[in-house]
Amino acid sequence: MASEKPTMKVNIVAADRPIWSGTAYSVIIPASNGQMGILPEHEPVLTVIEHGSVRVKSTSGHQHVFTVTDGFAAFDSNSLTVAVERCTDDEEPQDAADSGASAGSGASADAE
């Protein structure tokens, strides 16, 4: 139990639809000053995103990659929101199915 990794909530939304939500161990976002790694319990931050890929290491063990353009990311109270104009999902189809499952079982994934 002591080795349990801390997690955080991640919510990725595009202007016209929600893209992905779930829990993750770490997220890398393309902030304006270069890549920015976000770990659970990060300090509250609001940063601009130009263009790049968001990498999410989710609690289900998958690495999700999203290509995003023009937006921002906000982190507070252990929850990361990435809001972007356009977003394409680069992950494999079977990963997409898993991401849906992990979004649904977000709370129980903490207990792993």
């Binding site: 919510n11 939304v13 595009a14 202007a15 016209d16 639809r17 929600p18 902030a31 304006s32 000053n33 920015m36 300090e43 509250p44 931050v45 609001l46 940063t47 601009v48 937006g71 921002f72 906000a74 507070d76 109270s77 929101t81 809001a83 104009e85 356009r86």
Partner: protein
Amino acid sequence: MASQLAYKSRIASTKSLSKIFNAQEMIASSHIAKARDVALAAKPYSDAISDALAALVAHTHLDHPLVKKKDSTDNPRVAVLALTSDRGMAGPYTSNVLRETEDLLSRLDKQGKEPQLYVYGRRGVSYYKYRNREVKATWEGHTDAPGVEVAEEISDTLLKAYMAPASQGGVSELYIVYTEFINMVSQKVRLLRMLPVEVVDKEIDMSDANAEEEVKEAPDLTAPLYSFEPSTAEVLDRILPKYVQSRIHECLLTAAASETASRQNAMHTATDNANSLVDDLTRKLNATRQASITQELTEIIASADALNTTEE
């Protein structure tokens, strides 16, 4: 009394119209669900932007031209965006919006302002073209399913007009006239002042022209202390236009849902009317037929009578 043939042809054409109305109604009701889904899908994004903006409000003085414009007091030009529909057959949808827009324009004229018109939707565009009214920019062909792209286009155009200095034809305010979707049977025309941005968006009471002076939300002191990257000003610079865009998109979506609902209602009424007209005409047709039969009978009896009397 019209001939039976005329009645028959009227009944046939009314019946086919009724079929068209019925089909339109069914199309509209299937679009409603889609419009609602699209509006729901866009909600998380606008929520995220509102949250981010709320965080910014709590930490900065919001010293940005979009919130408070410097030369707004002596610049009489204001922009008015009217959201109408591309197609007709939507009952009073477009005419309600246009009436409200005309009201607003004359009110602004009285206040000594110079309203500049922006129109979205083909019906509104043709209305103003017919009346030779100068329109700054128009957008057509998207009212059924307004995407992010058209929202981006509109907000870019309007922000450009807003950010331009007064000497170069910039505007000091932006009003949007749109139709809010309340439920399937009721949609209400609303007037919203989009720019300068008020972080708490209150709708302006249409009866009260002085309601424009509204207070900004008091900074929420419990909000987490953010660090802004690369800088507060730059984040504000990026988020405020996005906020405006997402608000405009929201307006477009609710207007699209209202249009569909309004069309469905109108088509439902039209179908009912057509059916009652068919009933009416059928009744008249029967009466005519009966009358002609009666007349023929009378004629036959009369002539038979006449023959009998000559024989006697």
